[in-house]
């Protein structure tokens, strides 16, 4: 495999990382909540796409809006009934709460859908695409483009709309935002819902390039956390860079090191460790 091919594979892979992680960056950056259940939202999205495809024949990519809506509602509900009461509690209690939610959702998925991976095959999944000697599946390309579009949309939302401005204001200075008349609690609720919706959409798309499985949640939570931490808390542009760095690093190791796919995760975490040691507040910190 050529170097260019490995780089392209890594970049394609980083699309879903960026989408998932920017969702987590919202809940960490705006609300300050360390959400261990973030990956579980992604798993729910993946199963939603699976069932929509199997039961109703709906194409997973057309199920995206539905996934976003349902996960937004779930996120908003969870915020209202579980997260809001612990906002003033120590960080540890918040971590424990979201960890508990993650355990509940993960096992609910196990009980409902068992532990076998569920794969779906929409027509574009393994349709080969070739360009200048580089090849990939159409599914992976579509997923990357959609993820990139959604992340761009998120950036536009944050910088151009009043809601986005409110979120940024609240994340910078909660009291100040309240003083100028921003509904802090409402902004938190929307931000948490949006965060869940982003993970849900990533999950819907993940079902077309990988599979749906209850245990995927933890893996993606950890990767998203690592990306967010590497970027520096609340730094959304940094999330993009960190996603690409990690996606490409995984791909390179998988390509060039013998039996490297087993080491890819190691590289992922080793990079995070090194970045943290060198830059204790993340790459994006000033």
């Amino acid at each position: 495999m050529t170097l260019v091919q490995a780089l392209v594979n890594g970049i394609l892979r980083s699309g879903l990382y960026a989408l998932t992680s920017s969702g987590l960056a919202l809940s960490v950056g705006v609300i300050g909540i360390v959400n261990f259940a973030h990956g579980e939202f992604l798993v729910l999205g993946a199963y939603l796409a699976y069932w929509a495809f199997v039961l109703a024949g709906v194409d997973p990519l057309l199920a995206l809006p539905l996934g976003a809506l349902l996960l937004f509602a779930l996120g908003a509900g969870l915020y209202h009934f579980a997260v809001r009461p612990v906002l003033a509690a120590p960080e540890l209690n918040q971590m424990l709460l979201t960890f508990g939610i993650s355990v509940v959702l993960q096992n609910a998925a196990l009980i409902l859908w068992r532990g076998d991976p569920r794969t779906i095959n929409p027509w574009y999944r393994s349709l080969p695409v070739q360009f200048a000697g580089v090849s990939t599946g159409l599914g992976r390309l579509l997923v990357f483009l959609l993820a990139a579009a959604l992340v761009t949309g998120l950036f536009a939302l944050l910088s151009r709309t009043r809601f986005g401005q409110a979120m940024r204001a609240v994340s910078q200075n909660r009291e100040g935002a309240a003083v100028v008349g921003i509904g802090v609690n409402r902004t938190y609720l929307l931000a948490f819902g949006l965060s869940a919706a982003l993970a849900g959409m990533a999950g819907v798309m993940l079902s077309t390039v990988l599979y749906a499985h209850p245990m995927l949640g933890l893996e993606f939570t950890l990767k998203a956390f690592s990306i967010v931490v590497m970027a520096g808390l609340g730094n959304l542009t940094g999330v993009l860079w960190a996603s690409i760095v990690l996606g490409v690093a995984e791909s390179l190791v998988g390509t060039y090191v013998p039996r490297g796919s087993g080491l890819a995760d190691s590289v992922f975490f080793l990079l995070i460790l090194l970045v943290l040691i060198a830059r204790p507040k993340g790459l994006g910190a000033r």
Binding site: A82, E91, N93, L97, V104, S226, S266
Partner: protein, 309 residues
């Protein structure tokens, strides 16, 4: 929640707990004895986590040190025929050295950054051990013969001894000046520095102590269950359940993590038998409810109840 200022009173509860632990093997059958070993082993993990947490550092790296202990002991047996005791001593040294290095390079990290760094450390160890299968057995795992020729009562007392050691460490750390220094470091690190508290030394020292206890627990574990694979030895669940037990029981105390671990592990074992399928969902629900309605932990609830009387 901070524990109330310790006053001198008869140590009734610790003595009763010690006595109950000592006679336990004589009053129960083999099944409960096995549960007892598990509870004691995980109690060591929870309490050693809390010892480090008192410096303000939230670690998710317990799994890494546990796995390091498991593999030190197993490899020491494979190469030199080392039994459980030398295995535990070696595991303590290996874990201590790893903690010394990791603690030194992650000194400046705080909060979630430290948590992620320690988590990454454990994951790196796990994938490395899985990858170098020539030396470690890789994903197929590694085995040792059962300790003390399979005598489970002896195994129970060894694990109990390790817990006593951990409790002793917790008492030393929780005593007078050190405790005041730790409380200050946790609540306001700048003030602690200004007052001349050697925060760097304390952080590293407690990281080393905590990790070597975990390493010994890992060594005892492999010699008890006789077989382990990397997925299990470096399981993130080890890190998480240590955190959970301490918070559920009550942070920054000796009794909190012990009580929390006892309740959670017993409940988990009971559920495992009664609700055969998907029982951890109840475990998760209990956690959520506990955080929402009793944030001070079990010990906090008992304290409040006592002060009302």
């Amino acid at each position: 929640m901070e524990p109330a200022r310790r006053t001198r009173r008869t140590p009734l509860l610790p003595v009763a707990g010690l006595a109950a632990t000592a006679v336990f093997p004589f009053v129960v059958g083999p099944y409960l004895l096995h549960v007892g070993v598990t509870v004691l082993l995980w109690a060591t993990l929870a309490l050693s986590w809390d010892i480090l947490a008192r410096t303000g550092q939230v670690s998710l790296g317990h799994a890494g040190f546990f796995g390091a202990g498991v593999y030190s002991a197993a490899l020491a047996h494979a190469h030199w025929g080392a039994g459980v005791i030398p295995g535990m001593l070696l595991a303590a040294v290996v874990a201590a050295l790893l903690a010394l290095v990791l603690g030194t390079v992650t000194l400046r990290l705080e909060g979630i950054y430290f948590a992620i760094a320690t988590l990454a450390f454990g994951e790196v160890l796990r994938t490395l051990v899985t990858y170098f299968e020539g030396a470690t057995g890789g994903p197929m795992g590694i085995g040792v013969p059962p300790m003390f020729g399979g005598n489970r009562v002896a195994a129970y007392y060894l694990v109990a001894l390790l817990l006593v050691l951990t409790v002793a460490a917790s008492y030393v750390v929780g005593s007078s000046r050190v405790r005041l220094a730790l409380t200050c470091m946790r609540t306001n690190p700048q003030v602690a520095e200004a007052l001349g508290v050697p925060t760097v030394k304390i952080k590293i020292a407690l990281f080393v102590v905590s990790s070597s206890l975990v390493g010994m627990a890992g060594a005892a574990y492999i010699h008890y269950v006789t077989f382990a694979v990397p997925q299990e030895a470096f399981n993130l669940g080890i890190s998480l359940s240590s955190v959970v037990a301490s918070i559920f029981g009550g942070l920054y105390s000796t009794s909190g993590p012990l009580v929390g671990n006892l309740l959670l592990k017993s409940a988990e074992e009971y559920l495992r038998i009664t609700v055969k399928y998907g029982h951890p969902i109840v475990y998760g629900l209990v956690l959520v409810l506990a955080v929402l309605f009793m944030p001070g932990g079990v010990v906090g609830v008992v304290k409040r109840w006592r002060s009302w009387k």
